[in-house]
């Protein structure tokens, strides 16, 4: 059974016909070709598939595409503006906030949402917020550092 849904992804509207069982992640990756969001655990634990749905973080691997009908999705591909990396992305580069990079799309999306909600988070707030994003490479120290650097840089 398929259904036509309308998704606004990174500001662009798409009408997509999807089977009702298709996950939002698969829809983004395979119907829209946005492969930035990754599937790690597949059960909503690791956070590699994190996207923003109307500005709120969700695990797109356990959300059906049809649930996002009529709503706005932000993926990692939508963070940079005019080819310029978002301050969070730049900070992850400068501070070694990633290694293999497979969790990074989810990390930077979550970190952007964090700074949108709490522009100058304490380390404790960062840890609380980022709990749903696993990273096996960095041991998290440089992720915390990156977010600290991004917050400083974003400050007006």
């Amino acid at each position: 059974m398929t259904r036509v849904i309308r998704l606004t992804v990174n500001g662009t509207s798409h009408d997509v016909e999807v089977p009702t069982y298709r996950t939002l992640l698969d829809c983004l990756r395979y119907d829209l070709g946005l492969t930035g969001s990754k599937e790690g655990c597949g059960v909503g634990v690791c956070g590699a598939c994190t996207v923003l749905l109307d500005g709120k973080m969700i695990s797109s691997c356990i959300a059906l595409a049809v649930f996002a009908d009529g709503r706005a999705v932000t993926t990692v591909e939508g963070l940079a503006e005019d080819e310029r990396l978002h301050p969070v992305q730049q900070a992850f580069v400068d501070s070694g906030g990633f290694q293999c990079g497979i969790c990074t799309p989810g990390q930077v999306v979550s970190a952007k949402a964090l700074l949108d909600a709490i522009p100058n988070p304490s380390d404790a707030e960062t840890r609380e917020w980022m709990l749903g994003n696993l990273c096996r490479c960095t041991g998290y120290y440089k992720i915390i550092e990156s977010i600290r650097a991004a917050a400083q840089r974003s400050r007006p």
């Binding site: 492969t35 990633f98 497979i102 041991g139």
Partner: protein, 736 residues
């Protein structure tokens, strides 16, 4: 020597596409007409296959092919010992073994098709514990393992895959010199590498009949060889196209599903993508071996080790196929000697077949297991001798000229300095509150060897392109190699680009692994850049007039039909005389009511070479440490009679951002490594000693000695209860 680019804290410029989502991993590769492959896996640990009926699956709309062993050549695969069928033929030996493969238009249809395949099995007796597996009369997994290609000859029991021995002196005579002898047995858990990218691959047969492969595999040239064997094709007919790898940690070196993807591509005439679900990773990846390790150590009256005997049983699971070393064993077994001079030593390591998931390599293979056992054992001996555990270590540390268990002579031994640095930074001798403890542990790790090709070319715009066929596993090695080339050529970093080429572009390369890339890739890049520098000098001299720029030189050369380009093949065959020491101290508190262990702070000290990129270097230390922390306290892939009961990544309990303690890193830089600019290695230095440091700290805090990993609150709680009831020591101690 002052460097311009080497040693500078340069961020991860090599991975801007990773933060933007543009990086294409093998699971992201797409091709016209691509279809999806999935495998049906055995639900039984040991059984005969009586019948497979694929007719209902084949009839499902959208299914393009269904294969069983009957459709494939009778080929066995492996990395060194070839004992694993592509699909089970007549018999399954573990839960998760591949029984059939399906190709379908989308992954959901493929999964639906799997459910329509009917397999009739007849149970066979199974064995799960390695101690049981090598008893007389145990169920035998393989009828004639010695007949497998690559099988080591020694086989004391049909369920033994391999035996690896390390021997120094005369161990029996050594024990006769001992005043006291201590023996302890430890167990370590089954643990997944935990990379967040499950194995993924795409195989396409192009119009020329060549097999194009994109795979999460860290050794492209070995993969090409292994696929050539598995597919019975000449190597030249296979091209491995490199993609970034979403975490390796030792686990991404096998052919995994790629031969099946090839056969599905043949059967369907379409490119085939296969991505393991994480559930499949946990039931049929190639995780870290669980182990049962017994150490017996004799010491003299001054607390000096005179003899040690180590027996390790590694539960290797149903196949030996995932172990890459010629020994088909784990080199980490040699760490049974620890960082100590032991005149009389015998280590025997057995890899044992059982009806469990086949195990493979994981970061520092065999060492976290062996170092947990060895360094816990050292503390237990110190306690019995009423010595400060640091003092017992001091008395026995390796020194210049000593010999490792594998026979290598050591120079520039900084074991003592490294230990003292860790003790100092951790306030080892400061008073502690109640239920707080400190524990130390040490290890060392070789500087990796292998062979790498690097090519550098001066472009007509004056920039330099460095070409390698080393995949990016995330370590930052590509940035390190660019820094090396920029340093040699006196260029700014952004004028050296890296180009990742395919297996068509070089003849060979040992790939990524074993802490080798900074050394082998770095030296290949270094020498290639030196050669290019000479060529540039010669070309400038030929021009006569002082050259205005590299671009002018390159353009002049181009006009004369010359390309300024150099390739260097660097081959480091044997480990040298230098190693890298690690000393770590954990400070923990134990909750007396619940047994919960909290790591209050952790100190890690490393004896390293020249650091080429401090950010990447520190990233390796931190990442390895947190993997060690998970291994120590929480991670476990649990099995019940061969069935994995932790089938989601949430159940395996990888450390989260909330689990990391304050970390103090101490660096002892000693530029004596074999790498470029005297670099050493760091990738595997911080993982192995974490668990024993924490175990020793827990014992120091509350007297509970945990002999099996992970150190969960439950185990500490019951150990505390047992201690309260029966204060008699449970340690087995004998006088010889």
């Amino acid at each position: 020597m002052a460097h311009r680019v080497v040693g500078k804290p340069i961020g991860r410029l090599d991975g801007i596409e990773k933060v933007s989502g543009e990086a294409r991993y093998s699971g992201d590769v797409t091709l016209p007409g691509l279809v999806w492959g999935k495998t049906l896996r055995s639900p039984l640990p040991h059984a005969r296959i009586l019948r497979i009926d694929t007719s209902r699956a084949k009839a499902l709309a959208g299914v393009l092919a269904v294969l069983t062993a009957q459709d494939l050549p009778n080929i066995l695969v492996g990395r060194r010992m070839f004992d694993m069928p592509l699909l089970a033929r007549d018999r399954v030996r573990f839960i998760g073994e591949r029984v059939a493969a399906v190709a379908a238009l989308d992954p959901d249809i493929a999964e639906e098709a799997l459910a329509l395949i009917d397999v009739e099995y007849e149970d066979l007796p199974a064995v799960f514990d390695p101690v049981e597996a090598i008893k007389v009369g145990a169920p035998v997994l393989h009828d004639d393992p010695g007949a497998y290609e690559g099988a080591p000859p020694e086989r004391p029991h049909p369920n033994v895959q391999s035996v690896l021995r390390f021997k120094l002196g005369d161990v029996e005579a050594g024990f006769r010199e001992a005043d006291r002898v201590f023996e302890h047995t430890f167990r370590t858990q089954l643990a997944h590498q935990g990379y967040l990218e499950p194995h993924a691959g795409v195989v396409a047969i192009d119009e020329d009949g060549r097999v194009q492969v994109w795979a999460s595999n860290k050794m492209p040239f070995r993969l090409k060889e292994l696929l050539s064997l598995a597919l019975q094709l000449p190597p030249a007919q296979i091209r491995v196209n490199l993609t970034p790898i979403g975490g390796d940690f030792g686990g991404k070196g096998s052919v995994m599903d790629l031969p099946l993807a090839y056969h599905l591509a043949r059967a369907t005439g379409r490119p085939v993508k296969m991505i393991m679900r994480y559930t499949e990773e946990l039931m049929a990846g190639n995780p870290r071996h669980p182990a049962v390790i017994t150490l017996r150590t004799g010491v003299d009256k001054d607390g000096r080790i005179v003899a040690r005997r180590v027996r390790a049983l590694f539960n290797s699971g149903a196949y030996a196929a995932f172990k890459p070393a010629p020994s088909v064993n784990l080199g980490g077994a040699g760490m049974g000697a620890g960082v100590y001079r032991i005149p009389h030593l015998l280590i025997e390591s057995f890899c044992v077949y059982s009806n469990n998931i086949p195990c493979g390599h994981a970061r520092s293979p065999g060492e976290p297991q062996m170092v947990f056992a060895g360094e816990s054992h050292m503390d237990m001996i110190a306690r019995e001798l009423s010595l400060d555990p640091a003092e017992l270590r001091r008395r026995n540390l390796l020194r210049d000229g000593d010999v490792l268990a594998n026979g290598h002579h050591l120079e520039h031994v900084r074991a003592g300095d490294t230990l003292e640095a860790a003790l100092k930074a951790s306030n080892w001798s400061e008073p502690k509150g109640p239920w707080i403890g400190r524990g130390a542990a040490m290890t060392h790790r070789h500087i990796g060897v292998g062979f790498t090709n690097a090519r550098v070319r001066l472009e007509t715009d004056g920039t330099v392109t460095l070409s390698v066929a080393l995949p990016d596993t995330g370590t930052g090695a590509h940035l390190v190699l660019r820094q090396v080339v920029a340093e040699v050529l006196g260029l700014p970093l952004d004028e050296v680009e890296i180009e990742v080429v395919t297996t068509d572009d070089f003849t060979t390369d040992s790939g990524v692994g074993g802490s080798r890339v900074t050394h082998t890739g770095g030296r290949a890049a270094y020498h290639a850049a030196e050669n290019l520098r000479e060529q540039i000098g010669a070309e400038a001299a030929r021009l006569g007039a002082p050259a205005t720029s590299l671009a002018a030189i390159a353009q002049a050369a181009a006009r004369a039909g010359r390309t300024l380009e150099a390739t260097h093949f660097y081959d480091a065959k044997a480990h040298g005389t230098v190693t890298s020491f690690t000393a770590q101290v954990a400070e923990v508190s134990v909750d007396p009511q619940t047994g919960q262990v909290t790591v209050r702070r952790f100190t890690t000290a490393h004896d390293v070479g020249t650091i080429i990129n401090p950010i990447g270097h520190q990233g390796q230390i931190e990442g390895g440490f947190v993997q060690g922390l998970g291994y120590a306290l929480m991670e476990e892939v649990k099995t019940e009679d061969g069935r994995i009961s932790t089938l989601s990544l949430g159940d395996v309990k990888l450390p989260t951002i909330q689990d990391i303690p304050p970390l103090t890193t101490v660096i002892l830089e000693d530029p004596v490594g074999p790498g470029p600019f005297n670099a050493k290695a760091i990738g595997e230095g911080s993982i192995s000693a974490v668990a024993p440091a924490i175990a020793n700290a827990v014992a120091d805090a509350c007297g509970a000695r945990i002999l099996d990993l992970p150190i969960t609150a439950e185990k500490v709680y019951f150990a505390l209860r047992a201690k309260a009831k029966a204060p008699a020591p449970s340690l087995k101690e004998r006088r010889s």
